[in-house]
């Protein structure tokens, strides 16, 4: 499907192989017929944009999830891991992006949780501590196995997480899901030395990261996923960052007609000094200022964890600890509540459709009516005829493909479910639409439909905020783009300034690794 300018991966015996993996979740196809080979003694990099299916593939390899179709071979034999313990018994370990630790327990207890060393039916804490410090000293001397977990710095906790997988004597495959995202520079160096060490021992590393320079530096083979499909693979020595970005975002151009808006671009919402403190110090949203105008689609781009979701959630009133001022319409708001914000015409299409957007036990019609049903009553009684007119109108307006609105919402495809969530907001007479990753996990046709809807809302004089992580989408849909990095706004681009390179550059600014400055240089290569 892609023209590959790099040579394919060498013909070497793989230690682990995924063949024709398909994974379905209710409403989404996470992976579609994906092949992936893992070579021993190499760093096998897996990249793709948020939602491309990397984490799902990892979970299948590590035994956390089971594929809907396809098989996994380990050392040439088909394996069916039922859980991570089985996988680790076969020598497959995983280090998660989020730490899975028990903060109140000691380092050694954490490392041996679930596989305690037992003597006469009692946990042998001394032997555990000894074995733990052997492994820890190899990684980073100075972590006491008897220390309570919560007293360690995040970077050290990450090291413990890695040490956990190295307890296994027969480690063959180690999966690392964004291991550097919470490490400091020195800790990253420690980790890279460790990876070299593991490679020398013939252990296969599967490495997931968004930091492209890292991949070029330590990767051996690269596989790129996009929308749940494998689009390219190559050896790192043959490629550069430009090639990776091209393949990640794809060439297919997304052209969305920007419908004209004739009215005045009056400010709809002004946000001043918005902050959301982070647990353990620092800010998730760091003194953010911006204005949203009528008739514009305002993009907010950033990497995962940049604070985009938290920003829109705070504006909606989901985080009580958020501070700052907001002017919505002509009303000054300091402590927003969800109900209040909806009454003022602000809606949020949440990032996680299943968790925050839909009531799975209800019908399509009931989901559409969730917010607006009080409007379709006479003397407190719901009027079915009014509801029906409104629901049918929304279905037609949003182009939701349904055979019967009385069916359960879960009978719809992901794209149509998303349209229901948006339809719900439209029926609430919204003026400010905040859409958090509205295109995630849905098919291309539905994506285009949703972007056209966004443009239409803007053309009707509303304001649309589009939180996205797919460059191509942001570039083709938005009038103006704010870039967030580590809680701060690092760029405000409009018109021709909105280019993929500029977005990538700004999204890496303000990161503590400080390597961001090189990014643009690499793209120019």
């Amino acid at each position: 499907m892609q023209t590959m300018k790099a040579s394919p991966v060498e013909e070497q015996a793989s230690v682990m192989e995924a063949i024709g993996i398909t994974k379905l979740y209710p409403g989404t196809v996470a992976l579609q017929n994906v092949d992936f080979s893992v070579y021993p003694g190499k760093v096998n990099v897996l990249i793709g944009e948020n939602g491309a299916g990397k984490s799902t593939l990892m979970k299948i390899l590590a035994g956390i999830e089971r594929p809907t179709e396809g098989k996994v071979l380990l050392g040439g034999h088909e394996v069916h891991f039922q859980n991570t313990r089985e996988a680790s018994a076969h020598g497959v370990g995983i280090i998660h992006q989020e730490l899975n630790l028990f903060p109140e327990m000691t380092v050694a207890d954490n490392m041996f949780a679930g596989k305690e060393m037992v003597k006469l039916g009692v946990i042998d804490r001394r032997a555990q501590a000894k074995r733990a410090s052997e492994v820890l000293d190899r990684l980073q001397p100075g972590i006491d196995p008897n220390e309570t977990m919560l007293n360690l710095r995040v970077g050290q906790q990450q090291i413990v997480e890695i040490a956990k997988t190295m307890l296994s004597q027969n480690l063959r495959v180690l999966i690392m899901d964004e291991p550097t995202s919470s490490l400091s520079n020195t800790e990253v160096e420690v980790l890279f030395n460790l990876i070299e060490d593991l490679k020398a021992h013939g252990i296969a590393i599967i490495y997931i990261s968004h930091r492209l320079e890292e991949i070029i530096r330590i990767g051996d083979n690269v596989t790129i996923l996009r929308d749940g499909q494998r689009v390219a693979d190559a050896q790192v020595k043959d490629i550069n960052i430009k090639w990776i970005i091209e393949n990640m975002v794809g060439h297919a151009n997304l052209t969305i007609e920007k419908m004209p808006y004739d009215g005045e671009h009056l400010p709809l919402m002004q946000v001043k000094n918005y902050c959301l403190p982070r647990l353990g110090g620092g800010w998730t949203v760091d003194h953010v200022n911006f204005t949203l105008h009528a008739g514009e689609v305002l993009g907010i781009y950033g990497l995962m964890g940049a604070g985009r979701t938290e920003l829109v959630e705070s504006l909606m009133g989901l985080h009580e600890e958020a501070t700052g001022e907001m002017v919505l319409g002509c009303e000054q708001i300091t402590k927003p509540t969800i109900t209040g914000q909806i009454a003022r015409g602000m809606v949020l299409v949440p990032e996680d459709r299943q968790r925050d957007g839909l009531v799975q036990t209800m019908s399509i019609a009931s989901n559409l009516l969730l917010t607006s049903i009080p409007r379709f009553t006479r003397t407190g009684v719901v009027r079915n005829d009014l509801c029906k007119v409104a629901v049918d109108g929304a279905v037609k307006d949003m182009q939701i493909k349904v055979s019967d609105v009385k069916h359960l919402i879960s009978s719809l495809s992901g794209g149509n479910q998303q349209k229901v969530v948006i339809g719900k907001c439209v029926m609430a007479n919204a003026r400010v639409f905040m859409m958090d990753e509205p295109s995630r996990g849905i098919d291309v046709g539905a994506k285009t439909d949703i972007f056209i809807l966004m443009r239409r809302f803007a053309a009707q004089g509303n304001g649309v905020i589009f939180v996205g992580s797919e460059l191509k989408e942001i570039v083709s849909v938005c009038d103006r783009v704010l870039v967030m990095s580590n809680g701060k706004l690092t760029a405000d681009l409009s018109g021709d300034e909105i280019t993929e390179a500029a977005l990538v550059k700004a999204s890496a600014a303000n990161l503590n690794t400080g390597k961001a400055a090189n990014t643009e240089g690499s793209i120019e290569q």
Binding site: V359, T371, K401
Partner: protein, 353 residues
């Protein structure tokens, strides 16, 4: 395209097996009715039928409120205790009135006043449980367990554990007619008031669930509280309401019970909450919330009552009755889970095509 295809697949599916699975509680009710009418003497006589429906009404009031509570994803263990507590308060007001220490006198409220005071008190109990659950996020099980002990204890304290007997009312006190609530019936057609009250309450509950925005919001809160909140539903208010309504219905049940017995005993209603929960679950309401209906609960109530009274009429030992009831409840829930698994599987395979 894809979705349309799969819905067609779903629609053409309802096989006989699935239909039988879905209507299982109703079918169970029919089987029980047929079985007992052959095996239990007097089962089909008008008197027995009225008696059974009367029993069903008293238990059923609790189950109606419980249905709403369980649909929001909660549970109300306090309803049985509220039955006892409200009965004792009503009985106390009938016999001892309302003492006013500063004028050294006693006021005897009339029956409507008594009802009003008792209902207000019960609603307040529900309000407190609801606040604990909705605002302080105390687990519903714990909050209502606490409320259960408090109400039961208060019922005992009211009389020191004794019964308030002979609640016929007194013309001198101006509170005649209390006993009519439970034992009176519509003249001419022999239908007791208690059954009428139950039918009215069932209609009110079904109306709330089906015809008001509140009903929709109750389903939404139980189905996905986060999504409900983000849709602008005041989830806390919805939760507080269901506990208030549940306590109110428990008070109605308590009054009917007290009036029928013409005596208030503090242990009245003990373990009735379990009967109510069993009826709700038999009626197809999901304990995890979001799914269920008043209609299903009514069938559930009838199954439990017919099973209970039928076994009594057949002379089955009360120990065996308990065992059989337990088995029936577990089997019902297991079938429910099996059916849901089958449906989910059918939906996913349909999507694969």
């Amino acid at each position: 395209m894809n979705s349309i295809k799969m819905q067609n697949a779903q629609r053409s599916k309802p096989s006989l097996g699935m239909l039988l699975l879905k209507g299982r509680t109703f079918i169970a009710l029919l089987i029980l009715l047929i079985y007992f009418s052959f095996r239990a003497p007097n089962f089909t006589q008008w008197g027995s039928v009225v008696l059974m429906v009367k029993h069903a009404s008293i238990y059923g009031l609790l189950a109606l409120g419980m249905t709403m509570v369980i649909i929001t994803g909660g549970i109300d263990l306090s309803v049985g205790a509220v039955v006892g507590f409200t009965g004792m308060i009503a009985g106390g007001l009938m016999l001892q009135g309302f003492r006013l220490p500063w004028v050294a006198g006693t006021i005897y409220p009339n029956v409507p006043m008594i009802l009003l005071m008792v209902f207000a008190l019960a609603v307040f109990v529900g309000f407190c449980s609801g606040q604990l659950i909705a605002r302080l996020r105390v687990p519903a099980f714990i909050a209502t367990l606490g409320a259960m002990y408090i109400c039961r204890g208060a019922a005992m304290l009211r009389s020191g554990g004794a019964t308030f007997p002979n609640l016929f009312g007194d013309a001198a006190k101006g509170n005649l007619g209390f006993d009519l609530i439970g034992s009176g019936s519509i003249p001419g057609i022999d239908v007791p008031y208690s059954i009428i009250i139950f039918i009215v309450m069932a209609l009110v509950s079904a109306f709330i669930m089906k015809k008001t925005p509140l009903g929709n919001q109750i389903y939404a809160v139980g189905g996905n509280e986060r999504a409900a909140a983000l849709s602008g539903i005041k989830t806390q208010n919805v939760k507080v309401f269901v506990y208030m309504f549940s306590a109110f219905l428990a008070a109605v049940s308590g009054i009917i019970m007290t009036s029928q017995l013409r005596a208030a005993h503090p242990a009245n209603g003990e373990s009735w909450e379990m009967n109510a929960i069993a009826s709700v679950v038999l009626g197809g309401t999901s304990m995890s919330g979001g799914v269920g209906s008043i209609g299903g609960t009514i069938i559930g109530i009838l199954v439990i009552t017919v099973l209970n009274d039928g076994m009594i009429m057949m002379g089955v030992s009360s120990f065996w009755q308990m065992v059989i009831k337990g088995v029936v409840i577990i089997v019902a829930v297991v079938i429910d889970l099996v059916q849901k698994d089958l449906q989910k599987k059918a939906a996913l395979t349909a999507r694969m095509k």
